[in-house]
């Protein structure tokens, strides 16, 4: 305070120098999201969808090119608020690839006879005259596109934030649009609205924990800068209540976002109720962004405290893996099963956080990319299997799918094998990299536990494959809709990346390894 008053008395104000190239990917995405809002206001209804599609895909591709152009940079940008380093650029790049794939699923308009997967008007009551009228007119909720872009922008910020305030703001920009997107399904709108409310209340609850934790760490260190907190942690001898409380509360906030047990309750409901394309976006991109932020906070700011947080993470990791795989065994709904599978994957990824070494960072980044491409592909397939009421997600209705639509069932099988970690798929390499890092980081027993959990997981993934290929199809079962090229490209890209990352992983692993040092 005294220094500040002194500075004010001298009338000096130092302009922070900002290198705009370094934060260009974030600025482009958020800026175009604002333009996208203006498109909603000024472009006539008939043209909106096409304008929004061009704008969204162009933005995501340009942002990806900008991220690539930054490769190799290591610096704190924007007055120390944003870290441009290997992990943040690798994660931003992966995030944008996954966002493009998810956007392709969101753009699909060919599988539902009434239009795309979103309600004609989200504010019309389900089953009302208004709703029928809007649907008959063929109106589309093109507001999903600005929401989508804002969410991607928040994620880009969340994985690069080097300051607890920026991380909090990134977290909220990422989450708020998703709460709305979750509630906008065209079919089964009650489920969708319920999912939105559950996601919103629990998401807001968890960001409250994150923020209070940030306040505690600020009280301890006198700064919210991650590097500054690390210095304070290293200078501190003995126990400090504020530090431990801050660490625990921030972890709780992050555990909610990655859906780690016991903070996972929202995930199955939200994954099942949301429009399938949005579920794929949440499952792949939110998990990636949240793990990116978790790695940065735990490694950079609280790395000196690792002997205090590792035991807690051990317990959470074991619980997450086992609760995820065991409850997944009993699921009868495909989307719900994939949700529990995603919870189990969060457990495997926690091993990489616990490892606290460079291999852990590289392994986690590869794992997140491998898991993300398979997830978007798998949900893409789910959106194609339909009956008269919409998507047929009950497992019994998938019986015999392999006999009627071998290609679609085959693609789904490859995604499941990748989730299970079978060799020659991306999932195997990801699991291997993470487990190797865990052993090197002194978490050998945890890896043994994780291998047992993976073995259980193979069982329920295998069960779906058996249902698809070795049972007789139902007489009035669902049909596989032929999608437009949007979904087809997304599934094909997911398939191609899953196989390429599984067969020739070395270039990607090298890239992840080279990019695995945080700047502070």
């Amino acid at each position: 305070m005294i220094q500040l008053l002194g500075a004010a008395a001298n009338q000096t104000f130092e302009m922070p120098s900002i290198d705009y190239h370094q934060i260009a990917p974030i600025l482009v995405v958020l800026g175009m999201a604002v333009v996208s809002v203006l498109v909603e206001a000024f472009v006539p209804r008939e043209a909106r969808r096409n304008v929004q599609l061009v704008l969204t895909f162009a933005t995501l591709i340009v942002a990806f090119i900008l991220v690539v152009s930054l490769a190799g940079q290591r610096a704190l940008a924007a007055a120390g608020a944003v870290a441009v380093d290997g992990p943040s650029l690798f994660l931003q790049g992966s995030l944008l690839i996954l966002a493009i794939m998810a956007a392709l699923l969101v753009a699909e308009k060919g599988v539902d006879s009434a239009g795309d997967a979103f309600a004609a008007r989200a504010n019309a009551l389900p089953g009302s005259v208004d709703e029928r009228e809007f649907t008959k007119r063929g109106w589309l909720t093109t507001e999903i596109w600005p929401l989508f872009l804002f969410s991607v922008g928040g994620m880009l910020l969340f994985v690069t934030g080097s300051d607890l305030l920026i991380l909090f703001v990134g977290l909220e920009i990422m989450s708020l649009p998703l709460y709305l997107l979750a509630g906008m399904a065209r079919r089964r709108r009650l489920l969708s609205q319920e999912a939105a409310m559950k996601y919103f209340l629990l998401g807001a609850f968890s960001s409250g924990f994150f923020l209070y934790g940030a306040a505690m760490l600020y009280g301890f260190a006198g700064t919210v800068d991650l590097g500054g907190i690390a210095d304070a942690v290293n200078a501190n001898a003995g126990q400090n209540g504020l530090l431990i409380a801050g660490m625990a509360l921030i972890s709780v906030g992050l555990f909610f976002k990655v859906a780690a047990v016991p903070f996972h309750q929202w995930a199955p409901d939200v994954y099942q109720g949301s429009p399938t394309s949005i579920t794929s976006f949440m499952a792949a991109c939110v998990k990636l962004a949240a793990f990116g932020a978790m790695l940065r906070i735990m490694y950079v700011a609280l790395g000196g405290l690792r002997w205090d947080w590792r035991p807690m993470f051990w317990v959470i990791a074991i619980l997450t893996m086992f609760v995820g795989v065991i409850i997944a065994l009993t699921q009868t709904d495909v989307k719900r099963m994939l949700a529990y599978s995603s919870i189990a994957h969060a457990g495997f990824l926690l091993i990489a956080v616990i490892a606290t070494n460079e291999q852990g960072i590289g392994g986690a980044m590869f794992y997140l990319l491998a898991y993300g491409v398979a997830t978007i592909g798998a949900f893409g397939v789910v959106s194609l299997v339909r009956d008269s009421t919409g998507e047929a997600t009950h497992l019994s209705s998938w019986a015999g799918l392999g006999k009627r639509s071998p290609w679609v069932a085959g693609a789904f099988t490859i995604f499941l094998l990748s989730f299970a970690g079978i060799p020659l798929t991306a999932g195997f390499i990801g699991k291997f990299a993470v487990f190797e890092a865990g052993v090197a980081g002194g978490a050998g027993w945890l890896v043994v536990v994780a291998v047992i959990a993976s073995a259980i997981a193979v069982f329920f993934y295998g069960r779906v494959i058996v249902i698809m290929f070795f049972t007789e199809p139902q007489a009035d079962g669902p049909t596989v809709v032929i999608p437009s090229s949007f979904t087809a490209i997304a599934i094909a890209a997911g398939l191609a990346l899953t196989i390429v990352l599984g067969i020739i992983p070395q270039p990607f692993l090298d890239l992840a390894e080279k990019a695995s040092i945080f700047v502070r």
Binding site: M1, I2, L4, A122, N123, L125, P126, L165, F168, V169, E172, L176, Y179, L180, G183, R189, L190, L191, Q193, E194, A195, A196, M197, K198, F200, L201, A204, F205, S207, G208, F209, L211, Y212, A214, A215, M216, Y218, G219, G222, T223, V224, P268, D269, Q272, G273
Partner: protein, 99 residues
Amino acid sequence: MSTTHYLVLSAILFSLGVLGVLVRRNALIVFMCVEMMLNASNLAFVAFAQQNGNLYGQTIAFFVMVVAAAEVVVGLAIIVTIYRTRRSASVDEPSLLKY
């Protein structure tokens, strides 16, 4: 004056917020409790700013207010939609998604 009182008050507010989210059944009340958690954090930030002798905490409080306002917009939209559909804002009633 010491900042301890403010920190104790902020901890009490935060705990009340958490308790409210866990035990109340009306979505609006639950949401208000979440807002109370955010405001408890604000109070802690401002108190720590006084204690640490820098202005970060006070600046952060402004950002948090803006974020909380955005959250109100989104949250009320969702809760009102649910209310119009179901004629109730109880968090127990929407229970189609389970197991």
